[in-house]
């Protein structure tokens, strides 16, 4: 029988919380000024402070893609994005994708329902935001391109073939190339 110290071991740094910083973000078209601790990720800000729980937390390590949002039009993993670093940025989440019209659906949202491109639905907002970013990038020409460029978004239910079909249909509907 031996002895062992686990968890953090000894720490000498201060236990005071870091001071909050004021930032302004445009979230789904609405300007929000917020006081945010520097350790707060964009993901936790959206989910816990703004009640925009459509953006999902799957791993908090940038490994699964469930937290994907559009930041100044580009797809980013919001769990790896510190909110204070994005002062002035424009954020679009799944709730705002259809231009804020609560009853309207974006072509990707329609195509995801039609092609059954999800089962449990938890990766879905991230898949859809990632696909919107992909279409804006204009890089995907073929189904193989879509598979490769959507591989940062894991779907454990295994809806991948339907996700590819849905994105192809939405690309066509939006006049994008494939």
């Amino acid at each position: 029988m031996g002895s062992s110290i686990g968890a953090a071991g000894s720490r000498s740094e201060s236990q005071a919380k870091p001071a909050a910083i004021s930032i302004t973000l445009t979230v789904n078209g609405e300007s929000r000024t917020l006081s945010v601790a520097p350790w707060t990720t964009l993901l936790d800000l959206l989910r816990d402070r703004l009640d925009l729980t459509g953006t999902k937390k799957g791993c908090d390590h940038g490994q699964c893609g469930a937290c994907t949002v559009l930041l100044d039009g580009r797809r980013v993993t919001s769990c790896l994005t510190l909110a204070v670093m994005k002062d002035g940025a424009e954020i679009v989440t799944i709730e705002g994708l259809a231009n804020g019209d609560a009853d309207a659906l974006h072509p990707l949202q329609k195509a995801f329902i039609e092609h059954d491109a999800f089962q449990c639905g938890y990766c879905t907002p991230g898949q859809i935001c990632s696909a919107a970013g992909l279409i804006a990038e204009g890089r995907a020409k073929t189904a193989d391109d879509i598979r490769e460029l959507m591989s940062g978004n894991i779907c454990r239910c295994g809806a991948y073939p339907n996700i590819v079909a849905a994105i192809q249909e939405a690309m066509d509907a939006m006049g994008g190339r494939r």
Binding site: S4, I5, R11, Q63, D116, R156, P161
Partner: protein, 751 residues
């Protein structure tokens, strides 16, 4: 009116899921919410000598830190910690109960703070002093100590003798590593303290009433005081069948603070929950030169925990697939210092059928027979053990339609004989089989005078499509459009449901709805017949149908009355009927679903990189309620099977007793680029014996046989047989017969 059952209806909860409005367990933001962060043990076995929370408690915003020393009272009997899915006779794990450490990453403290970041930071400051004890986590080192467990399938004939005298003997060992469910949604619970000891619990679970009973047992609460909801579940695959520790921790927090508490596990913490146990499968087949099986011996040795014996049917699947006069099945368990394993998609079958179907492939090679032809020669029309016929078994048709869709006839039998440029091409096949189960469920139908219908049940929809199939069945039974029906699920206060598992939910809820709809029709007929000059006068229950918002004579829609009129005339605002599924016992047939899986792989000859380029999965599973969502279920199963074959493996450092790749990047799961063409075929399979609607369920059958089909395709492509999953490129390169697991060889011997 056209039937909704059998159509490709889009998910009724699809809009909520694509707009982000579907609320999962960790997403109920309520005023005064406190956030919990877990501290996990860093040792595998021993006891906690002391937990020092001084530094952590100094952090501004930390409210409290719960440990075994200061938590609210918990029950002291094992029975209070049991649940509907717990192994019998075990001692379930009790989170934060005492100072014992039983497995690595065991939860040992809960830091409660005003926000998540503070809780998580403070958790890193908790210092734990342990007394460390020796432990065992390596199945391979414990094989000799494994004990046989009692299983229902008994030996037939004398398998050893039959094997010894068989014209051809094949024996081989296969290994499936521990695999983790890794649902996309982390386990989470939001527990709302309502005052007066009442709790509302939003938990990630496959069974809200199971969690309700569990929480009531541990905390000695009354069922009326605990409501558990789980309206949306972000994947579970078996990990949510038993209650997990987040709900205990969040409840402890809420009881201690008397305020709402949320606990969301990190991805790493989910590697301290449950998993598919590592299993060694030992197969021995004896056959005649013509390919008739004389002997089947299947022994499985799997890991379990020291406190509970978890096992499923790994070994007896040959009993359902292949004729043989002699068989012996043995299941052994080795107890390790680990958390108890759990059901994971097609538990037992995913692993046991993988081994059986690889062995059948090896036998076909030894016999110089086409592997599909061998299956047909051994095809069984009866359960070998009971001698009973199947309620339905269209497996021959699965083989035929699957082979045709795949183009199997063009296969060149010799390994390494097919190519596509620099890649070797391999074609492999396997059979799948699962049980067609059904359980007592109850549903309630509420019809209001404005024509709206609400159907409710405490069942859950873990992505399987329960919401949608319930709406479809209700639509057909009530003669109403699908979009006029609201389905309520995932709430312990709703009519009784079993956990969502085993592929039994669709059949079970469908019959409960059909029965409740019968009662509703009966009452509507009685009310309609009290109306003056009722056109339905003299008709019996079987003579009338509900269609297009009316009750009408069968075959004569002129004799009909609108339901709104019936209810208005009778002065009734609402009619509510609750009924159970009421299945008749059938002990004269075997009840199973079947499949034929055919896979194509392409292997880079120089690098060994394997791609699964095509899979055809032809399934016979009775009546399919929704062809769209059922296809997705099978497709998902195929993706899981590909992951099992090529990617998934928990890597344990046995010096520490700890999973090393406890995240979703280093524990590999299939990503989009890994999945190519997947074709799903549902073979017609009418079944009037199993239940009135002929429904069997499709949640598990999709994965069964897939790993074997891929493994057999890899052999066909490369001529190298890898028996220890996953088949990674390094294993293709290792010399035959080597390999640290010594699984590199099979023995095929001719008399």
């Amino acid at each position: 009116m056209t039937s909704s059952i059998g159509t490709a209806t889009s998910r009724v909860d699809g809009r909520a899921k694509v707009t982000g409005r579907a609320k999962y367990a960790g997403e109920f933001n309520v005023p005064g919410l406190a956030y919990g962060a877990v501290v996990m043990s860093t040792i595998t076995k021993g006891r906690i000598a002391r937990i020092d929370t001084t530094q952590a408690l100094k952090v501004e915003g930390v409210i409290d830190i719960l440990t075994h020393d200061n938590r609210p009272p918990m029950a002291s009997d094992d029975k209070d910690y049991s649940d509907d899915v717990a192994p019998e006779g075990g001692s379930p794990f009790r989170p934060l109960y005492d100072d014992r450490i039983r497995f690595n990453r065991q939860p040992i403290a809960l830091v409660l703070a005003e926000d998540w970041e503070t809780a998580r930071f403070a958790a890193t400051l908790v210092q734990v002093h342990y007394e460390v004890e020796g432990f065992a986590t390596d199945l391979h080192a414990e094989l000799e100590r494994a004990r046989a467990v009692d299983k229902p399938v008994k030996p037939r004939g004398d398998a050893s003798k039959a094997l010894a005298r068989a014209a051809l003997r094949l024996s081989a060992d296969y290994l499936i590593p521990a695999e983790y469910h890794n649902p996309m949604e982390p386990f989470a619970a939001t527990v709302i303290w309502d005052g007066d000891g009442k709790l509302t619990i939003h938990d990630k679970t496959q069974g809200v009433q199971n969690v309700q009973r569990y929480v009531c047992g541990i905390f000695h609460l009354k069922p009326d005081d605990v409501r558990v909801t789980s309206p949306f579940v972000g994947g579970a695959f078996g990990s949510g069948l038993r209650p997990q520790y987040e709900v205990v921790l969040a409840t402890l927090g809420a009881l201690k603070l008397k305020r709402p508490v949320r606990v969301v596990l990190t991805r790493e913490e989910m590697y301290g929950l449950s998993y598919r146990p590592m299993t060694l499968e030992r197969l021995a087949l004896g056959a005649s030169a013509e390919g008739a099986l004389d002997a089947v011996m299947h022994e499985a040795i799997a890991m379990t925990s020291r406190n509970e014996d978890f096992s499923r049917n790994d070994t007896a699947w040959a009993e359902l697939l292949y004729k043989s006069s002699n068989a012996r099945y043995v299941h052994k368990l080795a107890a390790l210092d680990v958390v108890t394993p759990a059901d994971m998609r097609a538990p037992g079958a995913a692993t046991g059928v993988y081994a059986l179907e690889c062995a059948m492939d090896e036998l076909a090679v030894a016999l110089k027979l086409d592997p599909l032809e061998l299956r047909l020669r051994c095809y069984s029309e009866r359960d070998q053990g009971s001698g009973q016929p199947y309620s339905s078994k269209q497996l021959r048709e699965c083989y035929r339609q699957g082979a045709e869709a795949f183009g199997w006839a063009k296969r060149n039998a010799a390994p390494r004989s097919m190519r596509d440029g620099s890649e070797l091409v391999g074609w492999g096949m396997a059979t799948g089989v699962w049980e067609a189960l059904q359980m007592p469920f109850a549903t309630r139908i509420l019809l209001t005078a404005n024509g709206h219908v609400e159907v409710s049940c405490a069942a859950t929809d873990i992505g399987t499509g329960t919401y949608t199939v319930m709406a479809q069945v209700a639509a057909d039974m009530l003669g109403a459009p699908v979009d006029s029906i609201t389905v309520k699920l995932g709430d312990s206060s709703l009519p009784q449901a079993q956990v969502e598992g085993g592929s039994w939910t669709a059949a079970s809820v469908a019959h409960a709805i059909a029965n409740a709809a019968d009662d509703l029709r009966k009452e509507l007929l009685a009310l309609a017949q009290t109306m003056p000059n009722s056109p339905l006068q003299g008709l019996k229950l079987d003579d009338v149908v509900l269609a297009d918002g009316a009750i009408a004579a069968k075959g004569d829609t002129r004799r009909s009355i609108g339901l709104a009129d019936v209810m208005r005339q009778a002065g009734v605002e609402r009619i509510e009927k609750e009924r159970g599924s009421d299945f008749k016992e059938d002990d004269k047939h075997a009840h199973n679903t079947h499949s034929a899986v055919l896979a194509e792989v392409k292997v880079d000859e120089e690098l060994g990189v394997i791609r699964v380029t095509r899979v055809v999965n032809a399934v016979a599973a009775g009546r399919i309620i929704n062809t769209k969502t059922a296809t997705s279920q099978i497709m998902g199963g195929v993706v899981w099977g590909i992951g099992m074959a090529l990617h998934e493996e928990a890597l344990v450092d046995h010096a520490f007793g700890r999973v090393m790749n406890a995240n979703i990047a280093e524990y590999h799961v299939p990503v989009n680029a890994d999945i190519h063409e997947v074709k799903v075929i549902f073979v017609e399979e009418p079944d009037s014996v199993i239940n009135p609607l002929g429904i069997k369920g499709v949640g598990e059958i999709g994965i069964v046989g897939v790993a074997a089909a891929v493994a057999n395709a890899v052999y066909h492509a490369t001529g190298t047989r890898v028996r220890d999953l996953p088949i990674t490129l390094d294993k293709l390169a290792r010399p035959t017969g080597s390999g640290d697991l010594e699984l590199g060889q099979s023995r095929a011997a001719k008399q």
